[in-house]
């Protein structure tokens, strides 16, 4: 308790906390007392070949909110694990908490037994137990780690940076982690129950008689007829979430210092449970140099949408006294904020939340039926009119005859995308018409050509399915709890995987233990490698995969409550021989 009041005092006295250099000595008084009850905000750095990471139940406070947390080594986020490509790593995971735990190394190429997924590659590490991870570091880049249990949304996550053996392709003067996350006073079980029993529980941007959404009465009736909400963008919103930057809420005044003229590398990691962010730094352009830990050809942009579990590294050259780093949730219910500032305490204005967007025809799986969905511009009204025109006629929201036999049709499937189009060139909902440049997947080009350019020999189609009303989520219509057969690949097989999103939500799909290459229109040897791919609502997306990591791997939607309500599968790469625990 004394620790809490001390921290409150410090926070309110300063109104600012600074992001400083990795190697800067940190006086103990400045860190805040390590407490068994309240997690500190922000990470310490762990480097070396043998690390210890201890999990404990804590409290967490941000703004006026206070609730349960899970801290690793006393902080939320947990420690920044900073490694060197080519080193070996041993991590002792010590569970001092009251529940089972694990660490999944998100984006790392590891033997499957080291992947940290209870039920797939290990058993949960029980309270009081210590589990040893041991594997070589075979890559470089920006990644993260997190529990693959209910502890993840409570704070059990942290950044993971691997410095390359080869020199970095870009020059920069400062190097910062910007880890975005969402935290609620409610426990994950409470959130899950609210989502199950009450449609739109967390959504306070719904259409009403008095809203100022640009929708005709006809359009509104069409949505009501479908029993869907055009504002159904984030299942869990700022109504309960505080959006954090390195554990700091908007009121904490987190600062990233720079000197004018410096080039600053910002490593954005979306460690949220449920929140997509639109990231921008008003007043300065961002040059994207890495996505999901893999270098890409530099792309200059003004804003990007970052899906849950994705990472983007950017370089900025700030010119003003201070710039706001703004991470606005896609449903515009809140934002994470930090200051990029050349003088401690100097602040740039924080832009107001923009007007919440509405889902479009394309998000209903009718993209090809309305060209304006691709056109950008303020075409919402037009799109919706198109939808309404169809409402009386041919439009069918759940024409199950369009589904292949592999998809199980039942109460858990409330929509079939009638015409799911590829939207690699889509910047993300609400960013079609923001008046500046916005990154999209089609702009990502691998920095170096890949050695692997074999043509895929087969296509594997998977449907992302769900029922928003019942809060059931699945692949091919079957929750993981009903699945009896994994998704199978032969070792070294080259497969094109096509994901068809038969829901009105964006799903960040993550394959463990591999990188896949987005089929995004670029040359085959330059398709960007990713570990997590957003499949836009009502759309399709494809990736090419060389299944060269043997074993069983989790494959799931990284929206925490989607995964936990069924959108989870196991990918297996066989035979195991020659590499069970390679």
């Amino acid at each position: 308790m004394s620790a809490l009041s001390r921290r409150s005092f410090l926070s309110s006295s300063t109104g600012a906390v600074a992001a400083t250099g990795l190697l800067t000595a940190m006086p103990a008084w400045a860190r805040g007392a390590v407490s068994g009850t309240v997690a500190r905000k922000g990470s310490d750095v762990l480097s070396g070949e043998h690390l210890t990471m201890s999990v404990a139940d804590t409290l967490f406070t941000t703004g006026s909110r206070r609730g349960p947390g899970v801290a690793v080594n006393g902080t939320i986020p947990g420690p920044l694990v900073r490694l060197k490509e080519g080193q070996n790593l041993v991590v002792d995971l010590v569970n001092n908490s009251a529940h089972g735990t694990s660490i999944h190394w998100h984006g790392l190429l590891v033997p499957f037994l080291m992947d940290g997924v209870p039920g797939v590659s290990m058993a949960a590490v029980e309270p009081g137990e210590t589990y040893r991870y041991e594997f070589p570091i075979r890559q470089s880049g920006t990644y993260w780690w997190h529990a693959h249990t209910l502890q993840e949304p409570l704070g059990h996550y942290g950044p993971l940076i691997i410095d390359p053996i080869e020199p970095e392709p870009h020059q920069y003067d400062r190097d910062y982690v910007v880890m975005l996350s969402d935290w609620s006073e409610m426990s994950p079980h409470e959130i899950m129950k609210k989502l199950k029993v009450a449609d739109g529980y967390f959504n306070y941007n719904q259409t009403t008689w008095t809203d100022d959404y640009d929708m005709s009465g006809e359009d509104r009736r069409m949505w009501a007829r479908m029993r869907m909400m055009p504002t159904d963008i984030s299942d869990v919103s700022g109504a309960t979430y505080t959006f954090l930057v390195n554990g700091h809420g908007p009121e904490d005044g987190l600062e990233y210092l720079f000197r004018p003229g410096e080039r600053v590398r910002l490593r954005f990691i979306n460690g949220s449970a449920m929140t997509y962010f639109n990231v921008r730094i008003p007043g300065t352009a961002m040059t994207v140099i890495q996505a999901d830990g893999q270098n890409v050809q530099p792309v200059e942009t003004d804003e990007f949408q970052i899906g849950v579990a994705e990472t983007y590294d950017v370089i900025v050259e700030p010119t003003a006294l201070a710039h706001a780093i703004v991470a606005e949730s896609t449903d515009r219910s809140g934002m994470g904020v930090a200051m990029l500032t050349s003088r401690p305490g100097a602040k740039a204005p924080i832009p107001a939340l923009r007007k919440p967007p509405l889902l479009t025809m394309a998000d209903m799986g009718m993209g090809g039926m309305d060209h304006s969905a691709h056109g950008g511009g303020d075409s919402m009204g037009g799109e919706m009119s198109g939808g309404a025109a169809m409402a009386g006629g041919a439009m069918k929201m759940r024409d199950t005859s369009r589904l292949p036999e592999t998809v199980k049709v039942g109460p858990g499937l409330d929509m079939v995308a009638a015409n799911p189009v590829d939207r690699m060139d889509y910047p993300g909902l609400g960013l079609e018409d923001v008046g500046h440049r916005v990154l999209d997947y089609s702009q990502l080009v691998s920095h170096k050509p890949h050695a692997e350019v074999r043509q895929p020999t087969r296509l594997k189609t998977l449907h992302l399915t769900g029922n928003m009303h019942r809060y059931m989520w699945s692949f091919d219509g079957e929750k993981f709890s009903a699945v009896t057969e994994p998704i199978r690949f032969a070792y070294n097989e080259r497969v094109r995987v096509k994901l068809v999103n038969d829901t009105m939500m964006a799903h960040p799909i993550h394959l463990h233990g591999h990188f896949f290459e987005l089929v995004n229109g670029t040359a085959p040897d330059r398709q960007p490698k990713k570990h997590t791919l957003t499949v836009q609502p009502g759309s399709s997306a494809q990736f090419d995969l060389t299944a060269d990591e043997r074993g069983d791997w989790a494959f799931h939607c990284h929206l925490f409550y989607h995964m936990h309500n069924g959108m989870f599968q196991v990918v297996t790469v066989r035979p195991l021989a020659g590499g069970g625990a390679k």
Partner: protein
């Protein structure tokens, strides 16, 4: 003052100017940002073609085989047209080697089986216990003011639930006029509908027991509908249809029109029920959601007894038409 308490290092940083200088790569200059490479245009019409083509490929594996033999490179890998060339076939035999779960041999089959069971249990979903007081209200009207309660709830998973309902009303200072409870097995049969089967017990009057069969769910335009038929142990057949619609005026102020129709296949004089439409109740309630779980409301509710039921009411000295001005709370947990 501010400087003195400056909290250092609570944010993350992975480098400093000093550090950068130690690293050789700091000397490298970054190539000028390039514009994205040329992209094949995303053409809607070819997208449509892609969909059609891949469907055809699914259905005609012989054709797919032929396609896969074609020169892929010449077709322009990555283009939408290319997708149709990749056959959707079963995984090769190697993908089925080493049957069983990969981790079992290393971690122990028993340990992994228990872990899997736990994870699958979590994903199947914990059983949810939900109770809703849809209407708990004071009814001001001519004569003695009254009260009404209308509760429902369930315990269960996504598809199978135990559902209960309880409803009753009366006038203050008198014995309760009517009360009933239902216990139902509820099964999801469609995205928005459950069928329900169970028993209804009347707690007043002749205290009859009924078999109850119903359907509950959300119809287009977001009406919540609960329709049920009841067969009593005396063989009487009755039915009830309820519909509610939430109209959001603001994010928290919600107008809820409600209708309830009761029907009977025969006269049941001891219950005051006449064959045909027994009664109709129309109401409108305006609630304010301080929280989603807690919303006080005011409203008006009009009840009519119809046909023979109206006659029965008149014979009993009651008005077959009653207007209630209601104030109550809606809650759930």
């Amino acid at each position: 003052m501010i400087r003195a308490f400056f909290l250092l290092g609570t944010a993350l940083a992975v480098g400093t100017p000093a550090m950068a200088q130690e690293q050789p790569h700091a000397a490298h200059t970054m190539p000028a940002p390039q514009s994205p490479q040329e992209q094949p245009a995303h053409d809607m019409s070819s997208m449509d073609a892609e969909e059609t083509a891949s469907h055809d490929a699914d259905k005609d594996s012989a054709q797919s085989g032929e396609m896969s033999a074609m020169d892929h490179a010449a077709m322009g890998h990555g283009s939408p047209a290319m997708d149709a060339m990749i056959p959707e076939t079963a995984p090769p035999p190697q993908a089925f080697e080493n049957p069983g779960f990969a981790a079992d041999a290393f971690v122990g089959a028993d340990v992994m089986a228990a872990s899997r069971a736990e994870v699958i249990g979590e994903i199947r979903g914990p059983k949810v216990f939900w109770v809703q007081g849809d209407r708990l209200e004071y009814r001001a009207r001519q004569g003695e003011d009254g009260y009404l309660f209308d509760l429902q709830g369930y315990y269960g998973g996504d598809l199978n639930k135990f559902w209960f309902k309880a409803e009753g009303e009366g006038a203050f200072g008198e014995e309760i006029e009517s009360a009933e409870v239902q216990a139902l097995y509820s099964r999801a049969i469609a995205p928005f509908f459950d069928v329900q089967l169970g028993a209804k017990q009347d707690l007043t009057g002749p205290e009859r027991t009924h078999l109850a069969v119903g359907i509950q769910g959300l119809v287009p335009y977001e009406f919540e509908v609960d329709a049920a038929a009841f067969v009593s142990t005396k063989g009487d057949l009755t039915a009830r249809i309820e519909g509610e619609l939430d109209q959001r005026i603001t994010q928290r102020l919600i107008l809820q029109p409600r209708a309830e129709f009761s029907l009977a296949a025969q006269d049941i004089p001891e219950l005051g029920v006449g064959a045909g439409f027994d009664s109709v109740e129309l109401g409108v309630r305006l609630r304010y959601e301080f929280a989603r779980e807690f919303a006080p409301y005011v409203g008006v509710d009009q009840e009519w007894k119809l046909g023979d039921s109206a006659d029965f009411a008149r014979l009993a000295g009651e008005d077959p038409s009653v207007t209630n001005y209601v104030v109550g709370i809606r809650f759930w947990f």
